[in-house]
Amino acid sequence: MKKFMNTSDDFLKESLQGFGAAHQDIVSVYYDPNFITRSQSTKEGKVALISGGGSGHEPMHGGLVGHGMLDAACPGFVFSSPTPDQMLAAAEKVDSGAGVLFIVKNYSGDVMNFQMASEMMQSPNESVLTNDDVAVEDSSFTTGRRGVAATVLVEKIVGSLAEHGGSLQECKSLGDKVNKNSGSMGVAFSSCTVPAAGKPTFELGFDEMEFGVGIHGEPGRRRDKIKPAQDITNELLEAIIEDLKPNSNEEMLLFINGMGGTPLTELYLVFDNAKKFLDSKNIKISRSLVGNYCTSLEMQGASITLTKLDEEIVKHWDSKVHTAAMRWGM
């Protein structure tokens, strides 16, 4: 295993310390229990958005804390759910009285731990559960579909509504809508190594890819020989379109997400190939995002997410955001 690491015990702590120090204008990092908040406190009457999950998917979620997105994030150990004490401590810090919305990816551990935090909380709270991965119905980590890259879009769009004074119920409804309007699927060219495990999560041959891979390296639909990018892109998009069933001329957001080990050069190539395919299907890409947002440590690979747009979603996508990983309009 080759990693920038001193000891696996200090891996997360040192990474969080660096993150906090590098972005002290945007975030504050707290330890034992670990959570990240905006450096400025939540304005009164604003719904507080809290997300979290295992570490190893950076910049999700800590890098998405800031104006126009999350109020707090709870990082668990690498690929392991955070625990209710983290969520309760974060909620106590950022709840301004308008309630807390938890944004949770559909994995058994995450769902159970956020559910417990929700039950233990005295103040009003709701949850949005993301499950955008169309690859498999059940997996080694979930009952039902997995929550993957569309979680980033949910956090951006609902974050804007909360910033504009949306109520807890309105924020939940919009989050559910964006999740329902989104479909994702990914492919891996290499495995990844969890620091504490010390060896790759799975084995992949030199010329093989895992089609429909999960963000922890969980198996997807099948193991396949590597193919030209256009063929891989078409196949991913066909699976997503079959699930979302967009109308002809439907306006969509196209999100090409890197898994951590694939350069932007390749991600933009995938964007080009995806645009060609979507043009041929009369699907209009009116918003876009390309980059490493929902990663799997050093895994090589990418996922594609499509989201059906409407006036409300576009308005909140375009609005101002200032986080460590995403910034526009300010």
């Binding site: 229990p33 668990g76 150990f77 392991s80 759910s81 955070p82 625990t83 209710p84 004490d85 983290q86 058994s108 551990g109 159970m112 731990n113 559910q115 417990m116 059940d138 997996s139 080694s140 980590f141 009952t143 969980e218 198996p219």
Partner: protein, 209 residues
């Protein structure tokens, strides 16, 4: 049941689990990801370390502290499931006024029911619920029919073992093993084995008295 009883049971369980650690780890490597035994050992250690903090507390508060410790210290699904068990037991009515056999069985059964809801798993899905649910039912039946406590506990030990062994031929539909499909058949579920050992330890220690 007292706080002292809980801590002593944790110590007894630690001995038994440590003695079976390699066996449980092997079961988990066959159908899980191999970390179950470490989670269980860490959880028990954390509970035992709580002794000075909780020994003077009323049992409801002690159970609550155990729940929070298990939740934050184990983490993941195991932490949430065991945390749910203790947190629900802590909510039992009037438990600070004393917990007799009947009350202990009542709060344990409520806890098992809550774990069932949390994990959305029932009997027959190759999980620890294949041990916990039949044991809770056996204890409740026994106490409702006013049977002798030693007889009830002896039966519970047998029910736990039968439940654990039944997971061998089941197809997993919940938890990590569910992804293996038919490949998980023929293997005992590690969570069922560890919970069966805990039930056996507690029941037999009470019978002896």
């Amino acid at each position: 049941m007292s706080v002292n009883f809980l801590i002593n049971q944790a110590k007894l369980i630690q001995e038994v689990i440590d003695a079976h650690a390699l066996e449980i780890e092997k079961l988990d490597q066959e159908i899980g990801d191999g970390d179950h035994i470490f989670n269980v050992q860490r959880g028990i250690k954390l509970v035992i370390e709580l002794e000075p903090t909780i020994k003077e507390l009323p049992i409801s508060k002690a159970l609550n502290q155990i729940a929070m410790k298990v939740l934050s210290g184990i983490g993941g699904s195991s932490g949430a499931l065991f945390g749910t068990l203790f947190m629900t037991m802590a909510k039992g009515e009037n438990i600070d006024e004393g917990v007799d056999y009947k009350k202990a069985i009542e709060i344990f059964s409520l806890g098992v029911e809550a774990v069932k809801q949390r994990g959305k798993a029932d009997v027959g899905e190759k999980t620890m619920m294949d041990v916990l649910i039949p044991v809770a039912n056996c204890l409740q039946d026994g106490i409702q029919n006013n049977r002798d406590i030693n007889e009830i506990l002896t039966e519970a030990v047998q029910v736990a073992e039968d439940g654990m062994l039944s997971t061998k031929d089941l197809l997993a539909t919940k938890g990590r093993a569910s992804f293996l499909g038919e490949r998980a058949k023929g293997h005992i579920d590690p969570g069922a084995r560890s919970s069966q050992l805990m039930i056996k330890t507690v029941c037999e220690s009470v019978i002896k008295k």
